[in-house]
């Protein structure tokens, strides 16, 4: 597919992006079967050097971005993390660190804080060590995460606990909330696994049943009033059981830019799964230029690309047609309405797929990084 769109869609009214997701590396000591990294991981040898990342941060600030999320893989494997945090702070970006925490120690955390880091998000695989370490494929990981979470609040930094839910831990959502409160987290993300990348490979091993989902949803909603003013709750309802899709990333190319370890610039971290896309790199053009009229950004920005039923739908500037990667994964066509939507012709097929996968109870994980059978 070639891209024949006008190069300057909305150039005069386009708002600047809100944040850049800086995927410093794909390396990670964990092997979560739902990792959002692509199946083809960038090796260390392809990672950008410190100077290139600093240039990216300069350009993010120039483009009007307010925040940077240092992420990965595991960003702590980069020895220059402190230097990059300091640089981001110098150019006026608010800095978030999204980490598995297993490589962090107190000295480094203090150095990062002193470099200007504001917020640390730690993902937990479960509420107790045995299940958590099985999912992460890393022995001792859970205990380490809890210790680092305490260091984060002790250092005066904001802490988010990211609880990733799936079939094997969804019944413990209450325990996740209690744990986040015990750890003095200011925020909890109750995030159901998103099924693309490694998550899609492992869908039959992860997808919860409808009953599990209803029980979880009921439990979360019952807790919400009491959590008000104590902890900020970001609750992401799982798509597969929804009747309407979510505005993925706040809408394609509306809020975020994603830079991969080797410097490719994406509208969302799963965008590389879509065939025929033309991704630019930070070595070719600036982030502002790519934001304005990069072919991958304009391709699904706004409503110009939409076929029916989205084209005539009054929700099309609310959910922006849902997720392109999900449309590809489920309907075989990235241009289609997100099949999670009940107006999509593929919706019934998705429900059938989902029910089959949710019933496949003894499917083993294929850990991140391991080859197909």
């Amino acid at each position: 597919m070639t891209c024949l769109l006008p190069r300057a869609t909305h150039a005069d009214t386009l708002a600047p992006p809100f944040a850049v997701l800086a995927e410093l590396t794909h390396r990670c000591p964990l092997r979560c079967p739902y990792c959002s990294n692509p199946l083809a991981l960038d090796p260390a040898s392809r990672e950008m050097d410190t100077a290139s990342w600093k240039r990216v941060l300069d350009q993010a600030a120039d483009a009007g971005m307010l925040q940077v999320h240092f992420s990965g893989g595991e960003p702590c494997v980069r020895k220059d993390l402190e230097e990059l945090v300091a640089h981001a702070t110098d150019v006026g970006l608010y800095t978030n660190l999204i980490t598995s925490a297993v490589l962090m120690d107190e000295d480094r955390l203090i150095r990062l804080r002193d470099a200007g880091l504001q917020h640390v998000q730690i993902s937990l695989q479960d509420t107790e060590a045995e299940g958590a370490d099985r999912i992460g494929g890393f022995k001792g990981g859970h205990a380490r995460k809890l210790a680092v979470a305490e260091m984060v609040t002790r250092a005066g930094l904001a802490l988010t606990i990211n609880a990733v839910l799936h079939r094997h831990n969804i019944g413990r959502v209450d325990a996740f909330i209690d744990l986040a409160l015990d750890l003095n987290a200011g925020r909890i993300e109750i995030a159901n696994v998103q099924y693309y990348g490694w998550g899609l490979v492992n869908r039959a091993a992860l997808l919860p049943s409808h009953e599990q989902l209803i029980a979880m949803d009921t439990a979360v909603r019952a807790r919400l009033p009491d959590l008000k003013g104590r902890i900020v709750v970001d609750y992401v309802v799982p798509d597969y059981y929804a009747r309407r899709p979510k505005a993925c990333m706040g809408g394609w190319a509306r809020r975020f830019m994603n830079v991969t370890p080797s410097g490719r610039v994406l509208p969302c971290h799963a965008a590389e799964t879509i065939p025929g896309m033309d991704f630019e790199t930070v070595h070719e053009r600036t982030l502002s230029e790519i934001w304005r009229d990069g072919p991958a950004f304009v391709r699904y920005r706004g409503t110009h690309w939409m076929p029916k039923p989205c084209r005539d739908c009054d929700q099309n500037e609310v959910d922006w047609g849902g997720c392109r990667c999900q449309a590809l994964a489920l309907a075989g066509d990235a241009d289609a309405a997100d099949p999670v939507c009940e107006k999509s012709s593929a919706h019934a097929a998705v429900a059938a797929l989902r029910d089959a996968d949710a019933a496949a109870l003894d499917t083993p994980f294929r850990y991140r990084g391991s080859p197909a059978e």
Binding site: Q67, N96, Q118, Q121, L157, A158, D226, G229, R230
Partner: protein, 97 residues
Amino acid sequence: MTDSPTIFEDSRVRLAPGVMLRHDRARDEWMLLAPERVLVLDDTALAVVRATTPRDAGTVGEAITRLAAEYDAPRADIAADVLEMLNDLLAKGYVVP
């Protein structure tokens, strides 16, 4: 179930960990930057945040008295607005008691 935290006139408030007040030049707006979030402040919200959250701001009641004098408005009106706004900011995680 316990009562949700609430801010009263005798409370002291500060910005929550990881929350920063900043002027953004690109958009020419004041905002609170917070973990993965941003809140754009209008003039009133900015005045409230500036009056109540610095370390030397004293109690919320003292800040209300100062604001009432500064804006030459009935103290009760200012008090109602300030408490409503602070409790909203508390619920959204931008300030803590």
